[in-house]
């Protein structure tokens, strides 16, 4: 399986990555190699097999929906580079 530079650009759009012009050739080749290796899976006979989403096929445990009183917003925002009055700041989105 060979993928093209345009595929890498599309993946980068989906995953919000950016790859420099000088790196894209290397990434295109490496991702092609990885996908070729993955292609082996086609040979496996999986007729009638259900997909396995959890290593012990357990379902997700949910906690009771009880409101908690602790609010650590200020503590968590200490790690933000740009916040003000409890809000995170980003570049202007709407003109």
């Amino acid at each position: 399986m060979t993928i093209k530079k345009s595929d890498i650009n599309h993946i980068c759009d989906l995953s919000k990555l950016r790859v420099g012009d000088n790196e894209i050739i290397t990434f295109t080749k490496q991702i092609s190699d990885i996908l070729n290796m993955i292609q082996e899976l086609e040979e496996a006979d999986t007729k009638g097999i259900k997909p396995m989403a959890h290593p012990m096929n357990m379902s997700q445990r949910l906690r009771n929906d009880v409101p908690l009183s602790n609010n650590d917003r200020d503590l968590y925002q200490d790690n933000a580079m740009d916040s003000e009055d409890g809000f995170y700041k980003v570049p202007k989105v709407i003109d």
Binding site: L41, E42, A53, H54, D78, A80
Partner: protein
Amino acid sequence: MDRFTLKKLINMISQREISSAELVSTYLDRIKKYDHSLNSFLTLNEESAREQSLIADKVIQAGNYSSLTGIPYASKDIFCTKGIRTTCASKMLENFIPPYDSTIIDRIKSSGAILMGKTNMDEFAMGSSNETSYFGPVQNPWNLERSPGGSSGGSAAAVASGIIPIALGTDTGGSIRQPAAFTGITGLKPTYGRCSRYGMIAFASSLDQAGLLALTAEDISIFLEVMSGFDPLDSTSVEQDVPKYSDLIDSSIEGRTVGIPKEFFNDSLDSESQKLLDQGIAIYEKLGAKIIEISLPNIGYSVPTYYVVASAECSSNLARYDGIRYGYRDDDIEDLDDLYRTNRQIGFGDEVKRRIMTGTYVLSAGYYDAYYLKAQKVRQLISNDFEEAFKKVDLIVGPTTQSPAFKIGEKIDDPVSMYMNDIYTISSNLAGLPALSHPIGLIDNLPIGMQLIAPHFEESRLLNFCNLFQQETDYHMQQPQAFLDVRH
């Protein structure tokens, strides 16, 4: 002087041969003196460790202490530590100070053990050589030109060189067992759900599991008792009692059955490693185990299955790094899209980007069924193979790696060749099984490991087998030449 096992340090403290303050000071001195050649620590917790050791000594004097009170340990830099920088060896988290402790760190703290520092690793645990770390590779103490393996390479090198008695690691596809094998120590990946993942920075959530690297199975059993158990804060944590592992390690293995998967002994295993494995298997036979050949017919699909599942989960988990709430944030930004892309372009290294790209591709429209759904089905086949095998045998034994540690730089430009390193270790992550690697000798002065795999929640069986092996042999006490004087 003998190697300082954790057990030995515990005895020295309880018999008042050494104080916690002296112990902490000794290990801090060792780290400062020797780590410049290894690069195994990213952050030292010196001041806090010294303070805690003084408190520990008061607790010990008062007589009201537990076995781990005042004992030094290190943590892979993937576990959140309140107030202590936690980087995941990434530029993205270079300045991240967690506001809380991960459950495992919290439990170990409650046991009285003292965190000495955070160890180097592959960036976001993605790698098998420790070369993807933003802070530079770790060197293997047996040969400084060689890789210690990865991703828990810092923890492995630190334990193997004797600058720390025990260290936390994580294992998503072999990241504890492969570095343990490459550095001649013992490493355990517990069952998925055995140890809480809360506060352990996520890479692939259905595969990640916390574990330990130490000199012996006995040392691991002591720490595992403290770390394990249900945690309401981790929705994948399993509610199951934790055995007293250290009480179960001496049981006889007479008559227990050991399965040798024929698929593990093929051309990809080098002949010298094969010889040492045969000798290791003979020791289990001498200890009373019955050896039988088994087959895991779908095991050959492990690597491709893993690189679909793990990359898909990685692309999803790492979507959180946008540079807004935490993480690297660039100053020179035009708009919101530019902010995301610039922060992620500069904050992530190449291997992390490759995995995000691969994961995004296999999950994208038109490819989901062919790759992701197919891999999940093959994962079930691999898991079924183990289930069948464990109807016939108590334990599965095989190689941990194909060969001894490779040279730093040898494989870094060829991702597929690097991924093949995990060929023997990945399947137990896919099936959620506990697995352990222990040393079985040297080839050209480089260690080789043997891997044991057990049914779910049978960590005690792995530790029991390994402990009896280590009573019979002294491979686990062999020391790297360059670090022989560390213990004097």
